[in-house]
């Protein structure tokens, strides 16, 4: 690539050119002003020579030709270092002007990335940057350490109107108008001079002027003087076509009628003048100077001798202090001369010569530590390398060197550093090293005030965009940095432009902090500019910033509200992000034939209700024939049914993503109610059509469309009385979620469509959200679920209003103790005008809840349960009901609930078992004389009751050791409550085969009938087979509960009747629940324990409570099928002096099993038979004990009552009173084996021989038994756990024998 055609090359050819200093009198300026131009402006266009042909010779006499040349013209007064503040001001003006000229519409959408990439080239080359860079470079011109800014020639201009013009020329030298550069010796004052006389043709003829010129020629030399006639034209009669000044794009001049007094001759004359000045004077002069200086330099510095000398001389100066300003070099010093030589050579494009001189000079300056000059030379070297297109590395090295050296100088070198940096970036750009260029821009930006830095950073960003491949993220980042700087320096439009461009990079990425920052700032700046609509659009995007800190969230939110306020109207947004609506939470609750008593009932799964209502409601096909088929069209299938006048509730969850609280008001649904079905169809069709369109068009358009649709629907709603909408206000704290219950009540028949929701945030912003789009999405996503669930279907067919029952259970407790029995009342209200009939009810847990009879409602509880004298059997109507887990109860036929009345029905509640128990009740009813689509409805009631454990009853039955067909019943009662104390009232035994009585036969079961919290109690009863024949007829009916009761406590209180309806019914269900494998076993018996809490007995105002506990299926059959009794004398006298005593005993063995049992009685021989066997038996008993204890729970209480397990009293520990050690012998056979038939008894004679008087415990015998099972295995299979054989230690049997007197 030709360096001269690059951007930098052009810049260098333009900027590093000979400077012509101009001195003029005020009258000259005056003449020129007539044309609206200053003198320099007038001649400026002609100082640029694009096609000249000047022959030049290099220092070594090589001829070449210059085809292009340019002169820079400056007034003498301008040739000085520009003032820093003024330069700053000027640059600011340049930037501001650029922003005003910026044509991009700030209201339009941010640019797309593709278009940015396309326009990157032109954008980075845009005049905006060019102008700025040029101005920035100019700000560092005319420094003394660089010779190319030093004037090469001086143009002295005097007007012919001046009196004695020749004297004026002389005056220029006297009045010391020269710039300081010449005066302080930085440059050679002997400068090429050219004398020019300006003649204004409007002031008269040029005769006088020609005289002056000839005089001048005499004084200053013939070739150096010239006359220029201007303003020859008449006013406005321009005879030239293209305006040369239009090219010099100085904005201030535009619009004026430039050069109106100049005619073609004038222009030609000016052109001629400049051409002559450059080609005949300046270029030859420079050439001459180059030649002279080169000779000087060669003489003093070139050659081996000079080099040594130079080195030696430099070394001698080493001790001199650093002088970075380098004042010690005057124009006559060899260093300055080399610099001038180099610069002149550069300007004459003899780059080889320039480079060799710069090289020479740079080592000198380095040795001298004249850093600024050194840097300047390095800079020029780099540029020379560039122009030569040689050694890129060297060029870059020199630039880097120069840049950093300038930076090291601090503020004095800063301007130069910037200029150097700009050269450098241009150089890198020319070589397509955009990435490096960008980093250089970035380095410059670090040193510059914010405004300059902003421009630099923006250029850097474009460099990143232009690099291959484009580095978009860097581009975005630098644009943001730049925008930030622009904003700091009050250039808002630039700032916005930068951020907007950056947006294209960050659009749609997941870097949340970045997005928030960019959108927030754009929004804020737009607001400052007063473009609120766009500002809000951007602010909206940062609102849902849950990841930010509280302070930032508050800031964002506050600014958003401020902007909305400034907008001056309520701002309406489609899908406002605050608060967030969680769409999956959308739940529609509507009542068709299914109605709900409470919201709790709604939450229950539909399948649960369905299974409960299975045989309650007419089956579905019947339902269809009833009302659905009467409808002419099928389309209702996919819409829900609702009833006019009844509210459709929509539950929607709002979530606050922020940590600050939000106030939301006026939340309401948006609905469409169309009265005619046909119109709905078309509308729905339309909607689908637009949906399809929407998908095709951009999402923005679709959103606008949706918003418009929602808005219009909302406006329709608000002025329409056919829909009643609820409004909800709430405040959401930080990160909170709220479920909002919204309702819509259609008042007319038709088709209702719930479209969306609308809410107001902080009273100023209105958010809209539509529902159907989400459903649409859902459908696309879940292909498997083609059928929409009814709760998400938002289309309803509204039918004529119908009666509706509302129901509740009065005084339903939330928690109860297990066993608690209560009377609760079901209350049904009919709010409509029409009566309902055919009521039926289904209860899910009849064990807990049981319908009473209508009379119970006035009954006094619990006294109504007490036994009455005229005890008649009730509850027979229930006996026919099949016992199942659900209970279907039909109200009497004549029950109808008239419109506006309330109907009550008693229910018995018994908390059967501890836990959290859900109770479901479904009530079916039919409408009377309503010719409606719907014939029946159901009311679903749901309660949850928490049941706490209270008394724990366990029963153990053992056969009585003393009597056959008598059993001892041990009842362990543990009070598991925390605080309640119970008064035990009554134990009832269900059944008529047995009779129960308390063990001490005086009537009271135990000493204390009070059971304090946490205590346990054991009481004993006796169970005896009763032979009463009165029971016989009733035993056939299982449901009739006849039994015997035992009252606790000394005063025989009123007993409760267990055969009456609630107790008996509950008992049945309890039996069903506690059912065991051996159902129908006659040996299984049931007990009911009735207790009352302590405080209710005290006659307090609290409602009386009654507890009943059912222990069912207690088996009287123990594991051991046999029981025996030892009969014989207890005490007798015997004369041991005569003989030992032989005593005959009789053992009666009873077999209570269904099988034949073989029993072997083993009596030990004389060796082992000692009276002190009790220890051994004590040990032997333990495994059996453990076996017996199975099924007993572990009563581990704090105040542990010693549970005496030896109920039978047979296995007491050590017999302490055993004073006799004398042995006894089982006489007769030591082992007897007999077989006992099922359910029969056998007697076995035994004999024992005693040798001394004393008391004996005859318990050291064993009974081995084994079941003789039948050969078929059925019996065995039925109950595997049952033992088939075993060994039992004998009961203790005390025998006292005294020496007979």
């Amino acid at each position: 690539m030709d360096p001269t055609s690059s951007n930098l090359g052009k810049m260098l050819l333009e900027e590093i050119t000979p400077v012509v200093m101009i001195l003029r009198t005020p009258l000259v300026e005056e003449s020129c002003r007539k044309n609206g131009l200053s003198f320099i402006q007038m001649i400026q266009p002609f100082s640029n020579f694009n096609n000249i042909d000047v022959p030049v010779r290099t220092a070594s006499d090589q001829p070449y030709r210059l085809h292009q040349f340019k002169l820079r013209l400056h007034y003498a007064s301008d040739i000085c270092q520009p003032n820093v503040e003024a330069a700053e001001e000027h640059l600011k003006e340049v930037v501001t002007r650029a922003s005003d000229n910026d044509l991009t519409d700030l209201n339009s959408d941010p640019p797309q990335l593709e278009s940015l990439l396309r326009s990157a080239e032109s954008e980075s080359q845009s005049s905006r940057f060019q102008i700025f860079n040029k101005e920035l470079i100019r700000a560092s011109s005319f420094s003394e350490h660089e010779a190319f800014d030093h004037p090469v020639a001086c143009l002295l201009v005097v007007s012919s109107k001046d009196d004695r013009p020749v004297n004026k020329f002389v005056d220029f030298f006297n009045t010391n108008q020269f710039p300081s550069l010449l005066n302080n010796g930085a440059m050679d004052p002997k400068i090429l001079k050219y004398y020019l006389l300006i003649h204004d043709n409007q002031d008269g003829t040029s005769e006088n002027a020609t005289n002056v010129v000839s005089e001048m020629r005499g004084t200053f030399g013939a070739s150096d003087c010239r006359m220029l006639c201007i303003n020859s034209a008449e006013n406005g009669s321009k005879d030239w076509q293209d305006n040369p000044w239009s090219a010099c794009n100085s904005d201030a001049l535009l619009g004026q009628d430039l050069g109106c007094f100049l005619n073609m001759d004038d222009l030609d004359e000016i052109k001629d003048l400049m051409q002559e000045l450059s080609s005949k004077h300046i270029i030859p002069h420079m050439e001459q100077k180059v030649r002279v200086l080169n000779q000087q330099v060669s003489a003093t510095r070139k050659g081996f001798r000079n080099q040594i000398k130079n080195l030696w001389w430099r070394k001698g100066k080493e001790d001199t202090p650093d002088a970075p300003t380098g004042t010690m070099y005057t124009f006559s010093s060899i260093e300055s001369q080399i610099r001038v030589l180099g610069d002149y050579a550069f300007m004459l494009r003899d780059y080889e010569l320039a480079l060799s001189n710069y090289r020479l000079l740079s080592t000198d300056y380095k040795l001298d530590k004249a850093w600024k000059r050194y840097a300047g030379v390095q800079e020029m070297m780099a540029l020379t390398y560039f122009m030569l297109d040689q050694s890129r590395k060297d060029a870059e090295y020199c630039m880097e060197n120069s840049f950093s050296t300038y930076l090291k100088l601090g503020s004095s070198g800063q301007r130069n550093a910037t200029r150097c940096g700009l050269w450098w970036t241009e150089m890198l750009k020319a070589r397509d090293q955009y990435k490096e260029a960008a980093s250089v821009y970035f380095r410059i930006s670090n040193e510059e005030p914010s405004l300059h830095a902003a421009v630099m950073l923006e250029q850097a960003s474009y460099c990143y965009l232009l690099s291959k491949p484009p580095m978009l993220r860097k581009y975005g980042f630098h644009l943001v940095l730049s925008g930030n700087r622009y904003y700091i320096s009050d250039q808002r439009k630039h700032a916005i432009r930068a951020y907007r461009s950056a947006l294209s990079v960050y659009k749609g990425n997941a870097w949340r902090y970045i997005n928030d920052h960019v959108h927030y700032h754009i929004g804020k700046w737009y607001a400052v500019l007063g473009i609120h609509e766009t500002a809000i659009k951007h602010m909206m995007l940062v609102l849902a910033c849950g990841h930010q800190s509280i302070a930032t969230q508050e800031l964002f939110f506050r600014d958003f509200l401020q902007i909305v306020q400034k907008l001056g109207k309520t701002f309406e947004v489609f899908r406002l992000q605050l608060p967030v609506i969680s769409m999956p939470s959308l739940k529609v609750i509507f009542e068709d034939h299914r109605t709900y008593a409470s919201s709790a009932a709604v939450d229950v799964k539909e399948s649960l209700w369905k299974s409960l209502e299975e045989d309650l409601v007419p089956s579905i096909p019947i339902m269809r024939t009833n009302w659905l088929e009467s409808q002419p069209k099928k389309k209702y299938k996919d819409s829900n049914i609702c009833v006019a006048g009844e509210a459709i509730k929509v539950d929607l969850e709002f979530k606050n993503p922020l940590k600050i609280s939000l106030s939301v008001s006026g939340v309401s649904l948006i609905c469409q109610l169309s009265e005619k079905t046909d119109s709905v169809d078309s509308e729905v069709g339309d909607q689908h059509a637009t949906d399809v369109d929407g998908h095709l068009s951009t999402s923005v358009l679709q959103n606008d469309l949706e918003l418009k649709k929602l808005k219009s629907s909302w406006e329709l709603n608000s002025c329409n009385s056919s829909i009643v909408l609820s409004e909800v206000d709430f405040t959401l704290g930080g990160c909170e979620k709220t479920k909002v219950h919204l309702a819509v009540t259609p008042q007319l028949e038709g088709v209702l469509n719930i479209v969306g929701v609308r809410w107001k945030l902080s009273g100023s912003t209105v958010g809209y959200h539509n529902f159907d789009a989400i459903l649409e999405k859902k459908r696309v996503k879940g292909k498997r679920r083609t059928r929409k669930s009814p709760s998400s279907n938002l289309k309803f067919t509204v039918i004529k209003s119908l009666p509706k029952l509302e129901g509740s259970i009065i005084n339903m407790p939330e928690r109860a103790y297990a066993g608690e029995l209560r009377l609760v009342v079901l209350e049904l209200r009919n709010q409509s005008k029409y009566p309902v009939k055919n009521l039926k009810m289904k209860i899910s847990h009849p064990r807990f809840l049981y319908p009473g009879s209508f009379e119970d409602i006035e009954a006094k509880f619990p006294s109504c349960l007490e036994k009455q004298i005229d005890c008649k059997l009730k509850g027979l109507h229930a006996s026919s009901i099949q016992l199942s887990s659900n209970l279907l109860f039909s109200f009497p036929e004549d029950v109808t609930i008239q419109g506006g009345t309330t109907f009550s029905w008693p229910l018995w509640l018994r908390a059967a078992s501890p836990g959290s128990i859900p109770l479901y009740i479904s009530i079916y009813y039919e409408m009377e004389n309503v010719s409606s689509d719907m014939r029946y409805r159901t009311l679903r009631i749901h309660y949850n009751i928490e049941v706490l454990p209270s008394l724990d009853v366990s029963v153990q039955i053992n056969p009585s050791p003393s009597r056959l067909s008598e059993f001892l019943v041990r009842m362990d009662i543990v009070n598991k409550t925390g605080s309640e104390s119970f008064q035990l009232k009554q134990l009832s035994f269900v059944g008529c085969e047995w009779e129960i009585s308390s063990l001490p036969p005086n009537g009271t079961a135990c000493t204390s009938q009070l059971l304090i919290a946490g205590q346990a109690l054991s009481s004993f009863f006796k169970l005896k087979k009763c032979d009463k024949s009165t029971c016989e007829p009733t035993t056939s009916s299982l449901s009739t509960l006849v039994g015997s009761d035992v009252s606790f406590g000394p005063e025989a209180g009123v007993l409760f009747d267990i055969s009456r309806t609630p107790l008996a019914d509950f008992h049945r269900y309890e039996r069903l629940h506690q059912e065991k494998a051996e159902e129908g076993d006659p040996s299984n018996i049931d007990f009911i324990l009735i207790a009352q809490p302590q405080e209710s007995i005290g006659g307090s105002s609290a409602p009386a409570r009654l507890f009943c506990h059912h222990a069912c299926h207690c088996s009287i059959a123990s594991q051991i099928p046999i029981s025996w009794r030892m009969d014989g004398p207890q005490a007798l006298h015997h004369d041991f002096s005569s003989s030992f005593c032989e005593i005959g005993l009789c053992m009666t063995i009873h077999n209570s099993s269904d099988y034949v049992v073989s029993v072997r009685i083993h009596t030990p021989g004389p060796q082992s038979s000692t009276g002190q066997l009790s220890d051994a038996t004590g040990i032997a008993q333990s495994p059996r004990l453990a076996g017996n204890q199975e099924g007993w729970y572990d009563v581990s209480l704090v105040n542990d009552i010693k549970v005496t397990s030896d109920v039978m009293g047979t296995l007491s520990g050590k017999p302490a009173s055993l004073d006799s050690t004398a042995p006894y012998i089982w006489s007769a056979s030591s082992s007897t084996k007999i077989e006992v038939g099922p359910m029969s008894s056998t007697k076995v004679p035994l004999q024992v021989s005693l040798f001394s008087p004393g008391t004996y415990n005859l318990s050291n015998y064993n009974l081995h038994w084994s079941l003789l099972l039948p050969s078929n295995k059925d019996g065995l299979d039925r109950d595997q756990v049952r033992q088939t054989s075993g060994t039992i230690q004998g009961h203790s049997y005390y025998l006292t024998v005294l020496q007979s007197p």
Binding site: K474, W511, D516, Q548
Partner: protein, 135 residues
Amino acid sequence: MASTACFIIVSRNDIPIYEAEVGSAVKKEEAAHQHQFILHAALDIVQDLAWTTSAMFLKAVDRFNDLVVSVYVTAGHTRLMLLHDSRNEDGIKSFFQEVHELYIKILLNPLYLPGSRITSSHFDTKVRALARKYL
């Protein structure tokens, strides 16, 4: 420990899946977005650099003023990026290697969808502990 350090894991789709400010300096309000900007911009450099070497640890790839970006590119082109102001290259390398191991463990979780945000608090604790140890 470095006074400023911001650790971020960028998925292969250029989405940050884990972010942690692990510096000991008091967290400044505007630092969060600044760090994101720098790290995001550094991705451009990583994109070029990752294919020039077979090493996973790319050392310092980018700088912004006195903040340096060190990057570790996993085989799956997940980038572990650390913005720091200390010059402890060995420590950073060890840090990256150990975090890489943790990240692999996360990947092994069958319930973790590669490229989704890492929400495991255990991971977070471990990373912070490693930062304390190495940085």
